[in-house]
Point group: C2
């Protein structure tokens, strides 16, 4: 079975996290959420207080060794400024991002989550992010204004408003375009919106 690891921290954007997790589960991807604490030490709780106050219980506490060893095919870094700061500054997360990409596994970053591309020292390539962090990224990357940017195994996106096409793109990359259609249909997008 295809499997995804979705990181979460205090301040994570709850819509971006939930749309990614839920859409991937609908695509029959086995999802595990891992709570990353404010320091590199192992967190003592797995409850994230998200950016607009929704409290989400992660499946596990983030353990770099387990996350590296287990057979995940995708790593997702959601946004939310404070949450993205915690995730992108964590040295174990940075190492994991490089390891996943070096192993030709997928890494998805959305909104301020794309700051992790910078802190992980990824090479210059096409990316996008929330407009509010564009100025921190546009010197080191080929900055695009598209909703979803696929650059090899790195997929980036802009904000809650692009979270559905972001998550559906991840489903398509992991499980094919037929699965994307099968997931998208029952979600009942408005007429004229073809995701």
């Amino acid at each position: 079975m295809v499997a995804a690891l979705i990181l979460i921290a205090d301040g994570t954007e709850e819509m971006e996290f939930t749309i990614s997790y839920d859409t991937l589960v609908r695509g029959e991807v086995e999802c595990t959420s891992a709570f990353v604490g404010p320091t590199d030490d192992a967190p003592t709780s797995v409850v994230a207080t998200c950016s607009r106050g929704v409290k989400i219980v992660a499946d596990v506490a983030f353990d770099p060794a387990a996350c590296a060893q287990n057979d995940f095919d995708l790593l997702v870094i959601p946004g939310g400024l404070k949450g993205a700061e915690t995730l992108s500054k964590n040295s174990s997360v940075q190492l994991l991002i490089r390891e996943y990409l070096n192993s030709d596994k997928y890494v998805g970053m959305i909104c301020a989550g794309t700051l992790a591309a910078l802190t992980s020292g990824l090479p210059k390539q096409p990316i996008t992010s929330h407009p509010s962090v564009k100025s921190q990224l546009d010197k080191d990357f080929e900055y695009k204004e598209e909703s979803v940017v696929v650059s090899g195994h790195l997929i980036t996106s802009r904000g809650p408003g692009t979270a559905f096409p972001f998550a559906l793109t991840l489903v398509e990359l992991l499980c094919g375009s037929e699965k994307r259609k099968a997931v998208s249909g029952p979600m009942v997008f408005p007429e004229g919106v073809h995701w």
Copy 2:
């Protein structure tokens, strides 16, 4: 301050819940989530295991007396088949829906959440829902296929794919069209999507 009460149960669709809560908070609406247990008795926990496995900690356990007395301006019933069944079959929730509408407060129902319009005995009027429960509703209501249907103070919608326009409509009704625009902009919807 404008205030909203958002119900949640085991099996609630986590995207519909989270998009409603988060978008309303962005609109400066004070949100309280209340966990409704599987029976009419007071629940002993406030952690909802949602339809695709995301675990959300509600702000409070559902207490019909407190929910009725407090000054909420909006009641939201999210979907997710199992969660909507729990919410729509709860006699206190049914009473609350009628009380809110009789007091000219807003009630939002999305996806299978619209089943609560039937179980609460609301009069025949325009509604919509997830297509999978249409056959349970189209004899007793004027069934529409639109993404969001506003019928007086009752607002209904179709599924996760219409959750953003649903939540933004609620923001507009409570806080005005300027606030809707102010909330929608930073969400960075794809070009051509005007919510």
